[in-house]
Amino acid sequence: MTLMPFERRWAVAAMQAIFPGSSDMGLADIGAMNVDGFLDEFIAVLPWRAAIGVRLAVWLVAFAPFWVLSRFATIVRLSARDRERVVVALMSSETYAIRSLALVLKTLGALLYAADDRVRTKLIPPPANSVTQIHRRRPRAA
């Protein structure tokens, strides 16, 4: 299963709303990363039910502006501020299924965003250890 191009645009818009980056903290915007490629690759390895869940989450967030903001527009047509209002509203929805689906997109975004070197270098101190390989070890039969 793969996302259609318009579905990918919706997903990217949602993920940018969740992980917009921060110039204050030097955290990159997820939009600067290969979101399209990541989505295609990840959905391809998912079981069909999980892949359908992702697609449902994308459609949910795409059309959420209708009832969250009473705006006749998909999420890609919104300003960054309104996109954020939409995803925050979904994540704090009283309806378990809605906030669970929104969490699916947050999870997908997190797997890409927090794995990016530009982000990790800001969050994880460089290791104090150097790694050397100095001795040989063989498997043993205990």
Partner: protein
């Protein structure tokens, strides 16, 4: 401080022809062994090694690939994709979704767990003996030599000073202040330097997962491993197990004949349906599934905590296991999982995410009373259903409230409970009551589970169980189940040690009977 790595890891120097990779198998194939073991995780690897050491010829079949130590990265996505079942998206269905993280690779879940050592609690064994009629067959005395051997072979030891890390140290210090009995975890490791990467595969092979211990050790003794081969069914002829039929990842048919026995160690989720596909129809098959749901709580400290350094899980308290059925423990998580767990979205999330170096994460796991089912579903899927009871959720809530208090007392300037209906940030002990008042509804909690039990329960009564106390199925002679699906109940502590000891006990008893055929089920005493 230098981290010294070997230039050859135990999973790199293997006997010629010991591993058949189902990803590149050229044609359909057949092979014959004394025993075929299904699964290479904690149960399968130990059974394979025990029998190989006893002189049996052993074939091991593993559904997943063998991801070598040198291939481990620190990215969660890469690990999910290559080593986790359903790429990390497996869930238990019920009143709420309960994510289940399970390994699907050589070594199974031991590749990405924290290698925590706990002997089976004696009160649990007493319950098994009396409530489930297991008597002395599965007792502390019977298991003791196996625990001893495993602890020796896998170098079980308490977390060292140099691998402790701040997340674990804070927990221990605060527990000490409160008078809550707590301790450094015992883990299977040789030379851990606290890289905090248990979850994505230990990059130095210090963690003694099955992929760098019992699997290569069994292969060194002559066993053969078929990786990336999914077992479709056990071959049963005349009510006796004769081998397995598997399908390689690239579509080849693999038939492995077993002269003496087939041992199933495919895990609590996969074993019941494999037995069903093999024709077993025991009433208890797929019933009484249990787990340990866990939920974490995060705290932000003024000083750096740096979860990227230190034992992923290095401190715990089991003081409330018997009274409240909960266990408290530390849990360092990588940035990817923190980003999911940190509340909010947009600018607020970014601001909080910037606090990651100052974040501590502790968790409560519950010895849940809830029982569920494992059934086959459309498309060959394994469907697990379970809804936590109100009492289970209340216990988790109590544990979270305690952890929140501990974090605040330890100096956290903010605690992030991660509960629906509770403010995403609490800053004072008075606010902890908001956690205590949250409805006992599992949908408000971010539970996850990795410890799975039951669904092919052990009982001497064929109406109540799938296997007898000798681990042999009641219906098919020579077919043994040696993973945690035979556990009559959950444990309240991390299960790997119990799984390995039970498997070693089963394999040892089987090896001791090598001169004759297995006793037909009908002739075995109840």
């Amino acid at each position: 401080m230098n981290e010294v790595l070997p230039d050859v890891f135990p999973d790199e120097s293997l006997p010629e022809g010991a591993v058949v990779d189902g990803d590149t198998l050229a044609s359909d194939t057949q092979d014959a062994f004394d025993v075929v073991v299904v699964g290479s995780g904690a149960a399968g690897a130990v059974a394979a090694h025990t029998l190989a050491k006893a002189g049996w010829s052993v074939g091991v079949v593993e559904e997943g690939p063998w991801v070598r130590t040198r291939e481990f990265g620190d990215g969660v996505y890469r690990a999910f994709k290559r080593m986790f079942r359903d790429a990390g998206t497996q869930v238990i269905e019920g009143w709420s979704y309960l994510p289940v993280l399970q390994g699907r690779c050589v070594g199974g879940s031991t590749v990405m767990n924290s290698a925590i050592v706990h002997r089976t609690p004696e009160d649990v064994l007493a319950e098994w003996a009396h409530r489930f009629g297991l008597g002395d067959a599965i007792s502390a005395k019977a298991l003791e030599p196996h625990f001893d051997a495993l602890e020796r072979d896998l170098s079980a030891r308490a977390v060292s000073d140099e691998a402790l890390g701040e997340n674990n140290r804070l927990f221990l210090e605060e527990a000490g202040v409160r008078g809550l009995p707590a301790r450094r975890m015992d883990r299977y490791e040789k030379g851990c330097r606290g890289t905090g990467r248990c979850f994505t595969g230990c990059p130095s092979a210090a963690k003694q997962g099955m992929n760098v211990s019992f699997v290569p050790w069994a292969l060194a003794l002559g066993a053969r491993l078929y990786s990336s081969c999914r077992v479709e069914r056990v071959l049963v002829d005349g009510a006796r197990a004769r081998g397995v039929v598997a399908r390689s990842k690239n579509g080849r048919r693999v038939v492995l004949h077993a002269r003496r026995a087939v041992l199933v160690a495919a895990s609590t989720v996969q074993t019941p349906n494999l037995l069903r596909r093999s024709g077993l129809r025991a009433r208890a098959l797929g019933e009484h599934f249990q787990c340990h749901p866990g939920v974490g709580i995060a705290g932000v400290f003024d000083a750096p905590v740096d979860m990227g350094f230190g034992a992923t899980q290095g401190a715990e308290s089991v003081a409330l296991r018997r009274t409240d059925r909960i266990k408290l423990e530390t849990l360092a998580i990588p940035p990817e999982l923190a980003a999911v767990r940190i509340p909010g979205a947009g600018d607020e999330l970014m601001r909080r995410f910037g606090s990651f170096p100052h974040l501590a994460m502790w968790a409560v796991i519950v010895r849940a009373e809830a029982e569920g089912t494992v059934r086959p579903a459309w498309g060959g899927r394994d469907q697990v259903k379970l809804s936590l009871t109100r009492t289970d959720v209340e216990r988790a809530r109590k544990g979270l409230a305690l952890l929140a208090r501990m974090m605040l007392e330890a100096g956290a300037r903010e605690v992030w409970p991660g509960l629906f209906g509770v403010p995403s940030v609490i800053q004072s002990a008075d606010d902890v009551r908001l956690i205590e008042e949250v409805p006992a509804d599992s949908r408000a909690f971010g539970f996850i589970t990795t410890h799975l039990f039951g669904a092919a329960r052990m009982s001497p009564d064929p109406r109540a169980g799938v296997v007898g106390a000798d681990f042999q199925t009641h219906e098919v002679a020579g077919l043994y189940v040696v993973d945690s699906s035979v556990f009559p109940t959950n444990l309240g502590v991390n299960p790997q040690h119990s799984i390995m000891a039970m498997s070693r006990l089963a394999a040892t008893r089987l090896a001791e009977r090598r001169t004759g055929q297995s006793t037909p089920p009908a002739n075995r005493a109840a």
